[in-house]
Symmetry: none
Subunit: 250 residues, 2 copies
Amino acid sequence: MLTDERFALILERVKQQDVVKIQELVDVIGVSESTIRRDLTELENKKYIKRVHGGAKLLKGKLQEPSVPEKSFKSSQEKKKIAQFASSQVEEGDCIFIDAGTTTQQMIGFLPDKEIVVVTNGLMHIEQLLQRGIKTYLIGGYIKPRTNAMIGRGALDSMKAYRFDKAFMGTNGVHFESGYTTPDPEEAQVKELAISLSRETYVLADDSKVGEIAFSKFGNTEDAVLITNELEEVVKSQYKKQTTIKVVGV
Amino acid sequence: MLTDERFALILERVKQQDVVKIQELVDVIGVSESTIRRDLTELENKKYIKRVHGGAKLLKGKLQEPSVPEKSFKSSQEKKKIAQFASSQVEEGDCIFIDAGTTTQQMIGFLPDKEIVVVTNGLMHIEQLLQRGIKTYLIGGYIKPRTNAMIGRGALDSMKAYRFDKAFMGTNGVHFESGYTTPDPEEAQVKELAISLSRETYVLADDSKVGEIAFSKFGNTEDAVLITNELEEVVKSQYKKQTTIKVVGV
DNA sequence: ATGAAAATGATTGATTTTGATTGATTTTAG
DNA sequence: CTAAAATCAATCAAAATCAATCATTTTCAT
């Protein structure tokens, strides 16, 4: 078990339940108490968590930053598979839109080494895109602090200057009646516009999103191809009538 | 087994799982531990991965890389003074434009804790601005790879939606005949537009820029207040006729 | 084919990580 | 408040991993 794996597991658990007991981590991770202690000390030094007697708790300020290397190990595996398949849809010469969000971010590493142009509303994507040497356009607008996504009138206006071959969208909810939904109405507006400017649209959503409904709708299931991991047959048939689904095995 | 084949296998695995153990690679690839070690060392040197005890993990860089260490301590001190004075010009309720560049970036730390709105074309400013809890708008457009500044038609179009109380600009050259100049014509366009959209403009330039002329002109000396450090009297009088100068002692 | 250069695999001792143990400190229960 | 229980930091030896070295094999230009 690599140190970074343990870190990921610990941080995931802290993130999920706000506090963790040391004994709990010993059981779940299967290493000695000493090791867990050392890990917690180190994570505290790095300002990811705050140690308390008997365990550790979440340290507010830092965890939402995109620089944090923590991610659910397993669910990140699934996201990666989804992202990898999505990237395989990109062809030479394409101009694509990549939505803000962690799932779509995973795509960047898998984008083919072809001449493509990327437009995005996600600030957190920029660094990786440039590092890969990809021609990148960012839409303007107000920067939503928590997620670093571009929103507002400026975002909508500046996106209208572009047209996309393919748009790759993240979502918080996929529902066969309610369609695609996300909590923030302003983000929904941006997503909706991106879809309308694109020839084809793909929505990336792992199974935890399927069946969920968030506040603001930004699209119908028939507007996009859904890329997801495992899906129960019952659920699958519900959607099959309305849309195309790509199920990516893990 | 070719070296590049192994590299490909290793990178693929790291990409998919974030971390790999050396033993795992030995098993999968079927070469000795020594070879894997050598491969990992080389891949780390090439900045593809980061080695950790027992294996390797994905390398995640930082956008705000201080890769360019300040030329000299002195000039950084001077830039700070200039930036500090510039920041003192900002008042409650102002909507200001902050140009991309290292000198203007220094301003952010000195901005007053007042209700202000910042619009910028500099990606590298964003993180600090958000951290300070400042309402931030980014103009859209093409991201110029080296400097992370927004340029192009998208940048110009999306800036036109804003009006500024004050604009704070960086420059590469200040000359009493040639005005303000910068090497990249596309950046010059953006700067020129920003100035035209602002009630007042300040140009921040340390003494190394004074007297210099770069390729593209973006403004006349009379269009802006020049904030600089020490200036010889002779030079000063040349400009005095045309513009306002603030000299900031170090 | 031949020799030099490069790559590989095994071995070494050094370094880092780990788990168990210790006694000190904090929390909990009565 | 006191004593038992839980948790803690510090320490040390064992295990895992490391970098360095060297003999062997492979590659490649001649």
